[in-house]
Symmetry: C2
Subunit: 357 residues, 2 copies
């Protein structure tokens, strides 16, 4: 258990690392941010930072020596980096969470093996396997690289057998999977935290809508049945336990409605705090960032009780130019990430709008 | 109006500066902390810091050049420092608030001149004036230095005419006032914010109890009549307007009950965020720290709506050793200031306990 004054090392210096560092500071814990980008938003709110590449072993060794535990804000931490650090300090969540979530094929097999429904998927090793999988998925699917994709990058939508031509070239012939399309009613996500002692706490289920493959809005409550909400929690808890997870884990799900009622199908998992959990900062007793800090520090988890209905709006690119208008909006809780440069598609901030009775 | 990415300069690097910096970071504003103490808790959560004395004009000039507005976490900013900075950058709250609040005699006259009840007071220029004032206050009163006292320092309790002997020596014969004792039922405080445009927003009235001259607990609601609550707001707004104030202002009051009902008597004011406003961090839509940041940045004020009843407990000295127990307490919101060394009487953190329906 880290004592106040001890240090959490965070790999990655973006807005997620920044919000973790702010949560840690409130609890009297220090952060050391490690990121290759000299303009990292998290540097400004952390006690210490290191600007170095993720394969710079001298810098990694100094970093490990200066911290008491290591965590990360992104799932694409190179395996060698994680292993190097793991030999020196606890890395939480552990290597299994990274190994599983860095490979879409491994991840889907892992979840399916737990008896949890996942979107239909097939391994793609070339045009032949792509064609046969697409035929199996009734001519429609999304070709995705197995590794290192996010926010719609490294993905090709296929709508007919004709689309196979050139599709693999568009993902640079990387190892891939084809995902069948799920006829979903809405996309939801569950954010769970698992402590060092195995305790799990889940936030309320959230309903997510996207624009241009980037999260646009999150609404809570998600508007599903109590049974579906309970099922989502069970899924989150099962996955976290199976990964021997420590920290905050996000599970993105499809809500499917058919004759038999509502079902949940896992889309993907993220072994970290998640954009669809930003609403917790203002609507809950404890935020996802504080929960993550508590978990990786070995502290007891907080109470994820929700105090109000809420809608989170992402401020992407020029959306953040509306900051003055949002700042003047009654009840709107504005969050800006301190990024110097606004670019199309870049997450600049978000706003939580609480619905008070 | 400061835009995101611009910088607030803060004089003082203690817990108040730290919590201001955390609030500013959430809004995408940077902070530059100026403090002579190399171990300042606020340094760790701010983009920039300067370690220099408050009379180091070269350092002050560099500081002013690097920021867009200056504010402070303590009212005892030397007048010369404020004037030096004021010539270069806006200082908010302005010099009038400092001049009034740095001198107990000036402060009490200022408030009395506004037609607001203050505790009985008399200027003390030597033993003769002290004796006559004490006689007027029926033999009981508190001798206080006019300047630079806080948390019970620079104060001598007088219970009879005999106590006059040596009393002035105990405050080093500094210019002083004698305050008559007020037979109060409870101590309360009102935290108001005044924006650059003159808008005022008040938080709910808080009830404060002290231990060893240091704030121990703050409870909200304060348990007074709606009329008293409204009167407290009116007092806060009147003082803020009269000071042409920009930022958060705390007014400490005595609640007196007599045959005619409840009355409020001003004890003292603090031109800054205040320990008795820490409950706002977890119980309100916007905290006192964010309100202060908004005001000094020229932003519109936020909504100070309270979401729950709350009790704040200060963690002073060894109280903070209970951090692990408090961290495990359901619904308790722990705040630690990152101070390396715990000393008796030193404010180490606080905890807000929300009472959810």
């Amino acid at each position: 258990m880290l004592a106040p004054g001890q240090t959490i090392g965070i790999l990655g210096g973006g807005q997620l690392g920044r919000m973790m560092a702010l949560a840690a500071a409130r609890l009297g814990l220090k952060c050391h941010i490690y990121c290759p980008d000299a303009a990292s938003p998290a540097f400004e709110v952390a006690a210490t930072h290191t600007i170095a590449a993720y394969d710079d072993e001298a810098a990694l060794a100094r970093f490990a020596d200066s911290v008491d535990v290591v965590t990360y804000e992104f799932e694409n931490v190179p395996g060698e980096t994680a292993a190097f650090l793991e030999a020196r300090r606890p890395v939480r969540p552990g290597p299994k969470a990274l190994a599983v979530s860095q490979d879409r094929l491994v991840e889907k097999r892992f979840i399916a093996d737990l008896g949890i429904a996942v979107a239909p998927f097939a391994e793609v090793t070339g045009e032949a396997t792509l064609e046969s999988a697409l035929a199996r998925f009734k001519g429609r699917g999304v070709l995705k690289t197995r590794r290192f994709g996010y926010d719609g990058k490294g993905q090709v939508m296929l709508r007919s057998a004709n689309d196979v031509v050139g599709a693999l070239a568009r993902i640079a012939n990387a190892p891939a999977i084809l995902e069948g399309l799920v006829d979903f009613e809405r996309e939801v996500s569950i954010i769970v935290a698992r402590g060092l002692d195995g305790t799990v706490e889940a936030f309320d289920l959230a309903w997510n809508t996207h624009a241009h493959h980037i999260l646009d809005r999150t609404r809570v409550p998600a508007g599903v049945s109590p049974e579906t909400e309970a099922e989502a929690r069970r899924i989150g808890e099962t996955i976290a336990a199976a990964l021997d997870y420590v920290g905050v884990l996000a599970v993105e799900l499809f809500l499917v409605r058919d004759g038999a009622g509502e079902h949940l199908v896992v889309n993907e998992i993220a072994p970290r705090v998640h954009n669809s959990g930003h609403w917790t900062e203002d609507a809950c007793l404890v935020s996802q960032f504080e929960q993550h800090v508590r978990a990786v520090a070995g502290w007891p988890l907080g109470e994820p009780t929700r105090l109000a209905d809420v809608e989170m709006e992402n401020l992407v690119g020029a959306d953040a130019d509306r900051w003055a208008e949002i700042a003047a909006e009654p009840g709107a809780r504005l969050h800006l990430y301190g990024k110097a440069e606004s670019r199309p598609g870049r997450k600049m901030g978000h706003v939580n709008r609480l619905k008070l009775g």
